[in-house]
Structure formats: C-alpha cells, structure tokens
C-alpha cells in the first residue's frame, strides 16, 4: 500500500487541510462576530455585543447568539436584543462572493431592554435625546396664555359688580327730583294762600274805609282773576303730577330693559378656541407618540441611507471593480425572507410579536425591491404594522402603516393638574397610523377614534374660586362624549416636521366649558338684575309713597286758597261793604260815580 501512496507526502498535507478547514469553520465565526461588532457600532454609534457567532462553511449557515444593540440615545437601554439569529445562505451565492439567503429567522427579539453597563461608545455621547417637540415652546406658551386669558376674562366678567345701571340712576334721580317738585308746588300753593289772605285783609280794610280804598276796590277784580288763574295753574299742575310720575316710571322700566340687555352683552362669554383647547389637552400626549415614530423613521434613514444605482466601476482600496456588461449585478447581502419573533412592551403592555422582513439587503438599488416589514402583535395590544423602506429609486421612501383595532387607553389626566384638568376615564379606541416620507418630505396622519369617553373636571389647588365654580358647572356635561376622534396630520420635512392636531374632543370640551360659563354668566346676570330690580323697585315705591303723601298735602294746600278765592270772588267783599252779596266785578259797577260821591 505504502508503495503506491506516499504517506510522508500525503499525511502532512491532509493534516494541513484539516487545520485549514477547522480554522475556516471556527475562524469565520470569530471573523463574523468581529465584523458584526465593528460594522454595527460604526453604523449605529452605540455598543453592539454578540455573545457567540457560528459560521458553517459546509452548511453555508451563520448563527448569531445573544445580539444586543445599545440605544445611542439612551445608553442604559438596548435598542434591540435578539436571542438567536439564524441565516441559511445559498451556497451558490457564496461561490459568487455574495451572501444571499432565501430564509432567515430572528428569535427572542426584544426592544428597549435595560442594560447593566452603558452602551455609549464615548461617555460624552451619554445624553438624552433632545428632539424638539412638535409644539414649540413659544406655541405652547401661546396656547397656555390663550386659555389663561379666557379664564381671566371670564373671571373679570363674572366677579365684577356693575353699579352703572341707568334704571337705578334714573330711579334715584326721580326719587331726588320729585320731592323738589312737590316742594315747588307746595311753595306756590303757600304763596297763593298768602296772596289770598292779603287780599282778604285788604278787603276788610276797604270795608272800613271804602273811599280810601277805592283804588283797591277798582283793582280787586283783576287781582282776584289773577289769583284764580294761578289757582287754576296749580290745579293743572297737581292734576299732571300722577301722569308725570307714570311717565317717569315708564322711563325707569325702559332703562331697566336697556340695562338688562347691556348686562347680558357684557356677560357675553368669549368664544373658546377649540383648536387651542385641543392642543392644550391632547398636544403632548398625542404628538409625543408621533414624534417617537418620526424619530424612528429618522433613525431608519440614518441606518439605511439612500444608495445610488451602481456605476460601471466600484472604487476599492486598490483599484476598481469592473462590472462586466451582461453580468447581473446582485447585492452583496440579501435575505429574501427573515422571520421575526419576540416580545415587546407597547403602551406599557407586554405583547408577543411575530412578523417577516422581506428583501433585506445592503444594496437595494441592485436588488430593485424595497424592504418590507410585516409585523403582528398578540397580547395586550394587538396591532398590525406594515413598513416599507424603499431605496430603489432616486429618492429614499419610507412608509409606515399601523392598524390597531383595539387600543385600551388607561386613565389619563389632560391639561394643567395644578389649575384645571380633565381626567379621562379608561376607554377603548382604534388607532391607525399612516406615515410616508419621500425624500425629505413628510406626510401622513395618525387617527385615534375612542368608543366613548368620560371626562371629569378636576380643580387643582392653585385654581381660583371661579375655576372651582366652572369645574362644578361643567360637572356632568363631559361625562359621556360619544366616539371622539383625534387626528394628527403630518407635513413638513423629516428634520422639521409640522403636525396639525385636530380633535372633536377639543370642541366638545370647549362647548361644555362654554355652556358652563354661559350658565355661570346667566346666573350672575340674573343675580345682578334681581339686585337692580330690587333697588329700582325700592326707589319707585319710595317715590309712590312720597307722591301719595305729597298729593294729599298739596291738594289740601291748593284747596285752601281756592275756597277763599271763590268766597272773595262770589260776594264776600260786597257783604263786607254792606251792600249785599255781589262779586268783585259787580262791586266795581255798583260803586257811585266820583261826582256823586263828592257832591
């Protein structure tokens, strides 16, 4: 046997081959591990750890165990962790210097797991993400200020006591003016009385000495007529007093109506901007999640940069690789189907996730198919995620569609808990997310439809008495809001995203608040009007009383001179002169002529 086979030649070479094979089998695992760590850390910017990497050249299979990729934004947390990754490569592709696999699997995938050691490559990198919120500080302040302004305006309107009512002023004016008028009438009556008494005294004197008072007697009828005229005027004025009082009362009534209208106008509640309220109530909560999603898309963009179609030559460290005409270019790494299974915590709930990544490649432009991810979760939060990362065209495109038919929302507090907040009871909702990033342009929307929402107003310790009253007035109005919908519409660019928040919850809350505020205002108006009415009624009653008293008194005062005048006018002077009863007019005619008296 040894004559034909040179063992001395064969054995060392066989041993060498075995050693080479072993080196290849075990060394390639080590090389893959080193390559994964170095490449991963360079791409992600955080620590990448692999417990073990096994590569079987014979079976063309690579197995990675215990892969942990740290989160560059939060170094004490893993971005993702996989227990085992297995990929079966096509042997034919390896012969052509390509790593192409039809099938692979990732088991035990978990996200956001805590780390014992920092995952930062450089300690200086240990800083939290400072991605700006969609609602800038200035905008948030503006929204807060608008809400504060509304409450302040409400407080100013409802807490003020109005004392400039026309009806009250008018009633007080009348109450002051009418006694003056009564006094004037009384003074006139008194003066008339004095005049009458003077006339009577003069008439008595004329009786004693008619000749000396001839001139008086001649003018007496005229004076009596004047007195009667004044008396008639006084009567007329006295008769007009009730009518004037009634007219003034009508004016007071009209003024009171005008006051009421003015008060209601003053207590008109400003329209509460539902959009601002929506932003204040839901802004951070809704858009925080969207911001996270945009952050993920941005991260994906960094991880999977846009690749341009291959040129005819590819530069290398030494020389260039020439792509021959007719050769079908294939990506260096392609996994046509990668099954994923693992667990995660979404919205605070543990979920089991499973899915498939298709057409995962390092050269999508060569492959010509976008990478797609389909993910299903089961457990606390069942949802379906479909993502597309397209690098085949001139512009990178990402699409994300999330459909969650049953999303249980926990008890949530919306708004400023220190002043006025709304506590939302646990509710069920459906969530759908559709985001598309084409180039730098961002578009899409996130829609959340809740089945039924019950909001309870909560008044904080620093709330004013009005807010407390407002909270009480809102009361049960928000206890049952049917199917409120909330939508965040995305626009702008990936680095400068704009989000417009729309919700029916804001208008519903605004309407409830407005209604409560209107009720408060109405109550306040009623209170103030009642007070005014009482004041006016008091003044008018006092006026009535004064009028009655004055009328009685004035009637008596006016009647006294009237009787006297009538008596004088009807013949009292004649009687006094001893010539029978005749009036002043008759008295003038009965007197003898001057010639006969002095014969």
């Amino acid at each position: 046997m040894t004559r034909y086979i040179r063992l001395g030649y064969l054995v060392p070479r066989l041993v060498l081959l075995v050693v080479l094979f072993c080196l290849l089998e075990f060394g390639s695992g080590w090389a893959l591990k080193r390559a994964m760590i170095a490449g991963g850390q360079a791409a992600i910017g955080a620590r990448v750890e692999v417990d073990r990497a096994d590569v079987s050249v014979v079976e063309t299979r690579a197995t990675l165990t215990g892969l942990r990729i740290a989160n560059p934004q939060r170094p004490m947390e893993n971005l993702l962790e996989a227990e085992k990754i297995e990929i079966d490569f096509e042997s034919d592709s390896l012969l052509r210097r390509k790593a192409i696999a039809d099938h692979g699997s990732v088991r035990g995938l978990r996200f956001g797991t805590p780390r014992e050691t920092s995952g930062a490559l450089n300690p200086d990198d240990e800083q939290a993400s400072t991605a700006p919120g969609w609602l800038g500080d200035a905008a948030k302040q503006a929204v807060d200020q608008a809400a504060e302004k509304w409450i302040a305006s409400l407080e100013a309107k409802l807490s003020g006591e109005y004392d400039d009512f026309e009806s009250v002023r008018l009633a007080q004016d009348l109450s002051k003016r009418w006694p003056e008028r009564f006094a004037a009438v009384a003074a006139d009556a008194k003066a008339l009385q004095a005049e009458v008494e003077l006339l009577r005294d003069q008439a008595k004197e004329a009786r004693a000495n008619p000749l000396r008072n001839a001139e008086f007697l001649a003018k007496a009828p005229e004076r009596v007529a004047q007195l009667r005229g004044r008396l008639a005027n006084l009567h007329a004025e006295l008769a007009s007093l009730p009518t004037d009082v009634a007219a003034d009362r009508r004016r007071v009534d009209q003024a009171r109506l005008a006051d009421e209208t003015r008060l209601r106008e003053r207590l008109q509640i400003d329209q509460l901007d539902p959009q601002s309220l929506t932003s204040q109530l839901l802004g951070e909560r809704m858009t925080g999640a969207v911001r996270d999603v945009v952050g993920w898309v941005r991260w994906t963009r960094e991880m999977v940069p846009a690749t341009k179609p291959g040129r005819s030559v590819t530069p290398r460290d030494r020389g260039v690789d020439v792509h021959f005409v007719g050769v079908r270019q294939r990506p260096d790494l392609l996994i046509r189907q990668l099954e994923i299974a693992g667990s995660a915590r979404l919205a605070g709930r543990p979920v089991e996730l499973s899915g498939v990544v298709t057409d995962f490649t390092t050269s999508p432009a060569l492959h010509g198919e976008p990478m797609r991810l389909t993910l299903h979760t089961t457990g606390g939060l069942p949802l379906e995620v479909r993502a597309t990362i397209d690098r085949t065209g001139p512009q990178p495109i990402e699409e994300l569609i999330v459909d969650c038919p049953t999303l249980d929302l926990p008890k949530t507090e919306l708004g400023n808990a220190a002043k006025f907040a709304l506590t939302m009871a646990p509710s069920t909702s459906s969530l759908s997310v559709s985001i598309r990033v084409e180039g730098e342009r961002l578009s899409g929307d996130v829609q959340l439809i809740q089945d039924r929402v019950a909001l309870t107003p909560t008044v904080g310790p620093s709330a004013g008495p009005l807010v407390t009253r407002l909270g009480g007035a809102v009361g049960e109005r928000l206890a049952n809001i049917a199917r409120p919908a909330t939508r965040v519409t995305l626009s702008g660019t990936l680095n400068d995203p704009h989000m417009a928040l729309w919700s029916t919850l804001g208008p519903a809350v605004a309407e409830s608040l407005e209604t409560a505020a209107v009720t408060l205002a109405r109550d306040e108006a009623e209170r103030q009007l009642a007070s005014t009415k009482q004041k006016v009624a008091g003044e008018l009653a006092s006026l009535e009383r004064k009028l009655d008293e004055a009328m009685t008194k004035l009637t008596a005062q006016v009647d006294a001179p009237r009787l006297e005048i009538e008596r004088l006018a009807s013949g009292w002077i004649g009687e006094q002169l001893g010539r029978g009863t005749f009036s002043f007019e008759q008295l003038g005619k009965r007197l003898p002529t001057a010639e006969s008296l002095f014969k």
Partner: protein, 175 residues
C-alpha cells in the same frame, strides 16, 4: 527550542547555500514576485501561494520575494490599475469576462479588479525574466556565498554543519 528559533534564518541562508538547484530558487523567486504583486485577498493570491508550497521550488526564496515585492507593490498600483482597467474594458472580451465572472468562484478570483488583473499581468510578464536573472545570479554567487558563510561559526551553525559533524562523530562515521 533554539533550533526552532533559528530555523527561519537557517532557511534564508539555505537559499544560497542549500542543495536546491538554481532553477528551483529562480522559480520560487518568480512565483514570489507574482504573489507579491497581486492583492492578497483574492483566490489568485491563494493559488500562487499553493503553487509556491506545492511545487518543488525554493519556498523561502519565494516567500522572501513575495514579502519584499508585496511591500513595494502599492507603488506600482497606478500603473497596474490603468493596465488592468484597459484590459478589463476591452469590449470584445466582455462576454468572456462575464462568463468567467458569473462562473462559480469567478468573483473570488478577483480578476475583475483592475489592480489584481494588472498586477497579475505584470507579474506574469516579469516572471520569466525574473526566473532567468535569478537563476544566473544564483549560479554565479552561490560558490562565493557558501565559502563566505562557512567561514563563520554562525554560518556553519546555521547551515547545520556542526550538528552534522557531531552526529557523524557520535555515530562513529568519521569524516
């Protein structure tokens, strides 16, 4: 242990003083020059290495030549790149290249790389002149080199003469 440590140096001395023929040394150097020129992460380099190890040529001379040329090879890259690119972009040869590239292990050869292709062509072009020059030099220098080496104790040690003498004495073979 000592023997193991000095064996590389001894092998180097043996290039000139050993019993290998000048043709074997020259062939080793020629293969080494080609191996030194081509980029190492290719199947071409592996094949040249296997040839160097498998053929009855002076391996030490080949490896020394490969090391020396390998250090200087990047200096020739501009030229080898241009040459390789010119050859690889010949339109009439594209189908052939495509066929070869698409064949199993085709990409591993690295011949689609301009420097690999150019340096292989340069190496092949230089191999025969190198063989001839090396053979002539070895034939001319070997006697003088052997004499010079044996003059020194270290040289003899490296050549293994002392050990051989001791072994001969020990076995009673004498000179």
């Amino acid at each position: 242990m000592f023997e193991w440590l000095i064996s590389p140096l001894r092998s180097l001395v043996a290039v000139l003083a050993a019993h290998d023929s000048s043709r074997q040394v020259a062939a080793g150097v020629a293969i080494g020059v080609v191996l030194g020129l081509v980029p190492k992460a290719t199947l071409v380099a592996v094949l040249l290495g296997v040839l160097l190890c498998a053929l009855r040529v002076n391996k030490v001379a080949g490896l020394t030549a490969a090391s020396l040329v390998g250090m200087l090879a990047p200096l020739a890259d501009p030229f080898t790149h241009k040459l390789g690119l010119k050859v690889l972009t010949v339109p009439s040869l594209q189908p052939t290249y495509s066929y070869l590239y698409d064949a199993p292990l085709g990409a591993w050869w690295g011949l689609h790389n301009s420097v690999t292709c150019g340096s292989l062509l340069v190496g092949l072009y230089l191999s025969y002149p190198v063989y001839l020059v090396t053979r002539g030099l070895v034939d001319r220098l070997r006697p003088a080199a052997v004499r010079w080496i044996l003059k020194y104790k270290l040289g003899r040690l490296l050549m293994g003469v002392q050990i051989t003498d001791k072994l001969s004495a020990g076995l009673g073979l004498g000179r």
